[in-house]
């Protein structure tokens, strides 16, 4: 009789990294489908190219560094997909390739791979391309040539250039239903909310960051709006435009670059929300979400120090 011997525990919840990433990808599918439905083949082109580049980059880099190739954990696919979601439909193929490669290489692999990245890799790739080739990020131009049944101007650019009067004809319900110009997937607010609620319900992400991020955006926008509603936009408008929804559910919640303690997560989320509005109002960029998350990523090690000390109890058995 041969018996297996090992150290406890002898059970496991049977959840692995690949399963978590698979469900995060599933949660993005409604927004992907909506994007392809709205923008057609160009949207599909960017998504397919980004995902393929991410996977191939990981294989190449890992081979070069003589590390085991781990594409089967699904994280490269997720990075590629998320990168595509925040890019305009009109992004040229070379920019997609460069951006995704940078996400994988600078964003993740040079820090040691999955779990070691101090900043969200998707946003790192995005930020480098955004600053290096700003002309390709003009979302108003991205919608040229489409026969869209909604206002084809980018709401946040209008707000930045023309003030609050310019955005009067954006109905909030249209913004919610994704009838707005934005990143190719990030504009599909309601579909991202559906995906986000799914991963929250299944427990793949926790409620702290999404909730505090939302509260941060709404609270900070309300402060400005209540002071002067003729100059500042409605808080709900801020919540539904740009990359806020995708940031709340999919980007700020990146495991490695966000805090793991409850109160750290709450402060992190609030910080993301508050910085988002500050950058939208005072920076030169129309949308501040991704930079806000990137800045808060840098505070993560500090926020992780917010932790209740464990109670050490000696207990006597009779």
């Amino acid at each position: 009789m041969k018996l297996i011997v090992s150290s406890p525990p002898h059970w496991h919840a049977k959840i692995d990294v690949a399963k978590i990433h698979l469900h995060l990808i599933i949660a993005l599918i409604p927004a992907v489908l909506f994007s392809v439905y709205t923008y057609g083949i160009h949207s599909a082109r960017v998504i397919a190219l980004a995902v393929a580049t991410a996977v191939i980059s990981e294989i190449l880099i890992r081979r070069l560094l003589k590390k085991p190739v781990t594409i089967d954990d699904g994280s490269a696919i997720l990075i590629g997909l998320l990168f595509a979601m925040i890019m305009p439909t009109s992004t040229p193929y070379w920019l997609v390739v460069i951006g995704t490669f940078l996400s994988i290489f600078i964003g993740r692999e040079i820090f040691g791979g999955l779990g070691c990245n101090p900043m969200n890799p998707v946003i790192v790739g995005w930020a480098i391309t955004r600053i290096s080739w700003p002309n390709y990020f003009n979302l108003d131009l991205a919608s040229v040539g489409y026969n869209l049944d909604f206002n084809y101007r980018y709401p946040l650019a209008l707000l930045k250039s023309g003030g609050v009067d310019q955005i009067a004809d954006f109905a909030l319900i249209d913004l919610l239903l994704g009838k707005q110009v934005g990143g190719l997937g990030s504009a599909a607010a309601i579909f991202l909310v559906i995906g986000g609620v799914y991963i929250l319900y299944r427990g793949f992400i926790t409620w702290e960051i999404p909730l505090s991020f939302t509260v941060g955006v709404l609270a900070m926008a309300s402060i400005f709006w209540l002071t002067d509603s003729s100059q500042y936009a409605n808080p709900v408008f801020h919540l539904l435009t740009g990359n806020v929804i995708i940031g709340i559910f999919f980007l700020a919640t990146d495991f490695s670059s966000s805090p793991f303690n409850r109160w750290g997560m709450i402060v992190f989320g609030l910080g993301c929300g508050i910085l988002t509005i500050i950058l939208r109002i005072w920076s030169i960029y129309p949308d501040g979400v991704l930079f806000a998350i990137l800045i808060m990523n840098l505070f993560t090690p500090l926020l992780d120090k917010i932790h209740k000390k464990p109670l050490h109890l000696e207990i006597k058995e009779l």
Binding site: P8, H10, F260
Partner: protein
């Protein structure tokens, strides 16, 4: 179904057949030279074999040799069991325990193989655990159901023995009515959610300490308490243990003679190659490698895990998801501790209070990377312990040099 739910089941106790041979280990005791027996000698039930070790059967000593257990090697005494029990006269019934002093009572109980801690001073609150601490275990609720009428007598015994002011009965939420009937006005009730790890004594203690931080706590398992009452009533030593046996063919609560080898409870035809036999909880227990391992007083559960269900923990990279931190019942930063341990930075593990870990196993259970987190924590604890000893040695050496 939730795997970590604490099970509830209405079972009847099955009397396990008396063993042909028992194995009595000198656990935690040193040196077989102090043994008061030799091979071929006839033992009677309750006889002293060594200070703190008593025979659980009547029979002939067959051999004295050593055997490997999951934690260490021990000297074991094999006894061939006779048909009839003959009890040691030294143990006498004491139905009215208040007639003796607490110290005399303690001596009597320990003479009858109960193994109660000798150090009973400085205790003001005792809690009785009547909730099964681990999934699959059904022993505590069974004892509660069978002996509910005797519990209030037991609480009085504890108060008398330890001079504790307060006794608390920890019970699962589902057994609330049973509990409130049992406590009378002698004890308080603490309701525990039927979900691992809420029933672990460490966490029950934490709950009590949160309400009353000055409480000096101790606990006793309900089965031990009932054994104490039985000893006082019948004047016979504690020689049986109730064990939940969970095999592929079913779940049973057996009353087993102490020292019975596991192979007499689990038949070999119930086992396949590459199964795992777990002594104790599926999250905390040790895997058994020897079917001769005897049943001892600390075993509540024997669980046979099918080879298909055996999970192999690996050492993949931590993805920092923070699940381990969220599920940790004592609030440790498990992800950091384990990465420090991985790179041999044990002082940092100590700074993060790794010694507060109660090894409930939840972090590893939930880890999506399948990391062997409990092993890392054990490694860190062990290294810290050894380094502390080394530091102590260094300081004493230095001071002796100075003295000279």
């Amino acid at each position: 179904m939730d795997q970590l739910a604490l099970n509830r089941n209405d079972l009847q106790i099955i009397e396990a057949p008396e063993p042909k041979e028992v194995i009595l280990p000198l656990k935690g005791l040193e040196g077989r030279d102090k043994l008061r027996i030799k091979i071929g000698q006839r033992l009677i039930t309750g006889q002293v074999l060594y200070p703190g070790l008593y025979s659980s059967v009547t029979g002939i000593v067959k051999s004295i040799d050593s055997m490997s257990f999951p934690d260490d090697d021990y000297t074991v005494i094999r006894v061939e069991v006779a048909d009839e029990d003959e009890f040691d006269e030294a143990i006498k019934a004491e139905p009215d325990f208040q007639g003796k002093t607490p110290a005399e009572l303690l001596e009597l109980l320990n003479r009858a193989n109960l193994g109660i801690s000798e150090d009973l001073a400085d205790i003001d609150t005792v809690f009785v655990t009547a909730v099964d601490p681990d999934p699959l275990s059904l022993v505590y609720q069974q004892v509660l159901k069978e002996f509910k009428a005797e519990l209030s007598e037991g609480f009085k015994l504890i108060k008398y023995l330890t001079s504790a002011k307060r006794v608390i009965l920890a019970i699962s939420e589902e057994a609330k009515e049973l509990g409130s009937a049992a406590i009378g006005d002698v004890a308080d009730l603490m309701l525990v959610k039927s979900q691992y790890p809420n029933g672990l004594p460490e966490l029950l203690a934490q709950r009590i300490a949160e309400q009353d931080s000055s409480a000096k706590l101790a606990f006793i398992k309900i089965e031990k308490l009932i054994s104490a009452l039985t000893i006082l009533k019948e004047g016979k030593p504690a020689i049986y243990k109730l064990v939940t046996v969970n095999t592929k063919s079913g779940v049973n609560n057996y009353r087993v003679r102490l020292g019975t080898p596991i192979k007499e409870i689990i038949k070999e035809d119930e086992l396949n190659n590459n199964d795992k036999i777990i002594i104790g909880s599926p999250l905390r227990g040790a895997a058994c490698f020897n079917l001769e391992t005897p049943v001892t007083a600390d075993i509540d559960l024997i669980y046979v895990q099918d080879t298909d269900e055996v999970y192999n923990y690996q050492n993949l990279q931590c993805i920092n998801c923070g699940k381990c931190v969220k599920v940790c019942p004592v609030n440790l930063e498990v992800n950091l501790i384990c990465r420090y341990a991985e790179f041999a930075l044990f002082e940092r593990c100590a700074e993060l209070d790794v010694n507060a870990c109660i090894e409930c196993g939840l972090c590893a259970y939930y880890c999506p990377s399948g990391r062997a987190l409990v092993q890392f924590i054990r490694l860190a604890k062990d290294e810290i312990k050894q380094q502390n000893i080394e530091q102590l040695l260094v300081t004493t050496e230095n001071s002796t040099e100075e003295d000279q």
